[in-house]
Symmetry: C2
């Protein structure tokens, strides 16, 4: 954040922009490898696009306002409603499964505190039109390959996965009614943060017996021991649901990412619309917020007034990922230095530098030269300050018209070259 | 524009996003070759950042609102105020001249009519800290090289240039007072659009004599004939100003873009803050709005409360440029097809396809395969529908575990290959 910018908004100076571009580059690279194509929508949408999905409460968190035409508007807080709107408009004409990704900037009106941002960028990858669990595996593999492309390993990042269908069956097995499900989910979600007694009180308030609450906590931890977990599954009659999750894990093995993945039924995901497998990516040390979250939302597209198609997707923000890369030393230093600096001596003018610069630029190299009219010594100082990778000196008394001296950065040796030849090889 | 999107906002489906990416790619390529580094700022800024520069009238055209914290906010209508704010905050630490570019999305609350957009993207390139006219030439050369990188020529696009200092001197020479300058500028600006009589009436209303008005019109057209123009310059005592413009043209010659450039004193540019050379790029047939406009604004940074540094820049929108490229057949067809489709036969399962897909993706290729469990014939249909560049068939009864059949798109021949070797070369 910078002086003069609104609270919660970032200025991207060239150094920060280079980091952002590095993240965007990795995102696009992996999305492309998985056959996803990029789309984008407007950063502003009608407010009801969000209230339809998340209820009127969401407005508290939105950057919303009334525009000059009297329309209720919001800066997009997430991409899924725009995605759903766009897919619905052309669903029939599209090859299924749809594999789309986007890199939207998203906005929330958070209370401005301690560097809490009101905007971030997010990689969104979504698959529409495939109900099979292989699509879930494909999607998580892509999220994990994003970690890989940035040099992170399964030592750095853990993917925790759950399945709402399995969890619901297990909860039913221990006697949780469908009315009590929200309280059970809320308790699971807070397992790492709130004291056990507080959670028990809340569960009791929702009508769960002490025994059921105890079984709930046991269930959340049981996935570590597969034999014990199988017993729970058998007892709940949730074999089919467990088979789906097992098949998911097998697929992740085939896709080469199984060692990143841990089953964890306490992964709830705040959003109410998930219907199947859900997942989150965390830094293994547990120091940062979630890197990425997503899952299957088979009923959402229809409920948003669109098409009835199974769908799944995830969002991955630039802020936590960027923090993680910096903490792990995986964010490359930006190097905005020009490829070539053209300097001229007493036998020439800036026009000579311009002619050479134009030719070298036409070869695709980045080139600077001293604007205005400067002495050679000053030009060379400027080249040094710019960190130029190569400095080309032309038009000194010792050089013929088609000659130049070239020096590479950090090298002492100067080479005398034929100018035309050197440019042709630049 | 799409059903459900706000009026004036575009949805970018993959085809349109591919065109946008093509334009962004060309913009970034040229900016980089000229040694410019990318930056970005927030899409929202305090309203007074714009009213400070352009007066309270600007608010009519802005997408502005009051936020939940009671702040007056606007979606950025242009990048220069953000740029000025950011440069001012770090001006002392920066190497001069600063060469920065950005690709912001900009917003205006235009009356929504006939596909009139309320947002567009714009390449902004600015140089700060160089008063010499060589910087002006460098900047225009970059704008013209953007045209070149998209395959346009000086047959397609014309750069019209003027210099406020020269124009002011010439206008003074024919007796236009500084109070009459705005009227004179307005008349020049409307020269192509409004009838001569209407312009004469307006000039008369501003106190210009019939004779002065006639000289004004003569002056605007006189640049075509250099000898006649020199006489005008001599008469007005504007030799120094003309020399600057001549030197600019010489620099453009050295930079290899002189044949795109025409001096045209009727180029006024709406914005009041230009102080020197101004320019616009037009399609040569005159069918579209300006492609690009910019110029020198040596006093703006200081007047925005920032640093006193000479500066110049231009903005080039994606909409007119995109139209021009499409009209001239220079917009490449997007080709989102995957590199490789992996299909499996009766001896295998989707797990086999997944293992191969993971390996080929690790080689940087884009890969799809049929999710779920599908018969080979159906998988091959899907590969065809996806336009896959190569289709790899594994796990048929005729093939050993390390063999595959490969077929390239649009070719009849299938090749039997060693799978590992093929992947290693993919």
């Amino acid at each position: 954040m910078s002086p003069g910018a609104l609270p919660g908004f970032r200025d991207f100076y060239p150094t920060e922009l280079a980091e952002r571009s590095y993240i965007f580059g990795g995102w696009r690279d992996v999305a492309r490898r998985y056959g996803f194509v990029e789309y984008d929508g407007p950063p502003l949408e009608p407010l009801d696009l969000y209230t339809k999905k998340s209820g009127a409460e969401i407005v508290d968190q939105l950057y919303n306002f009334t525009d000059k035409g009297g329309r209720e508007i919001a800066l997009r807080p997430e991409m899924t409603p725009t995605f759903a709107r766009m897919v619905a408009a052309r669903a029939n004409a599209m090859r299924k499964p749809v594999r789309w990704f986007s890199l939207p900037q998203l906005f929330r009106y958070e209370r401005a505190q301690r560097g809490r941002l009101r905007e971030h960028f997010q990689l969104n990858m979504d698959i529409v039109g495939e109900a099979d669990v292989s699509a879930d595996a494909e999607l998580l593999a892509a999220a994990i390959d994003v970690m890989r492309v940035f040099g992170l390993t399964s030592e750095d990042v853990v993917a925790r996965v759950s399945d709402r269908r399995l969890l619901n069956a297990l909860l039913a097995g221990i006697g949780v009614t469908s009315e009590q499900l929200p309280a059970a989910y809320a308790a699971l979600d807070k397992l790492d943060r709130d004291p056990r007694e507080v959670l028990e009180q809340r569960l009791a308030a929702a009508g769960l017996s002490v025994q059921t609450a105890a079984q709930l906590f046991e269930l959340a931890g049981a996935t570590a021991d597969e034999a014990a977990f199988s017993q729970l599954v058998d007892a709940a009659g949730a074999t089919a649901e467990w088979e789906t999750l097992r098949s998911y894990l097998d697929h992740l093995e085939s896709l080469g990412v199984r060692d990143w993945v841990r089953v964890d039924l306490s992964i709830v995901r705040g959003l109410a619309y998930y219907t199947g497998i859900v997942f989150e990516l965390f830094d293994a040390k547990g120091e940062l917020r979630a890197i990425c979250g997503g899952g299957r939302y088979d009923t959402l597209l229809e409920s948003l007034g669109g098409v009835s198609l199974p769908a799944l997707g995830f969002g991955m923000g630039d802020v936590v990922l960027g923090e993680l890369l910096r903490v792990r030393g995986k964010m490359p230093a930006s190097e905005p230095a020009v490829d070539v600096w053209v300097a001229y001596g007493d036998s020439g003018t800036v026009e000579d530098a311009m002619r050479v610069a134009a030719k070298v630029r036409a070869r695709g190299r980045s080139v600077e030269y001293a604007l205005g009219s400067q002495k050679l010594a000053r030009q060379l100082k400027a080249a040094y300050a710019a960190g130029a990778k190569q400095t080309l000196v032309i038009a000194t008394p010792e050089l013929s018209a088609n000659e130049a001296m070239v020096r590479r950065k950090d090298e002492k040796v100067e080479l005398r070259v034929q100018l035309d030849e050197w440019i042709a090889g630049a």
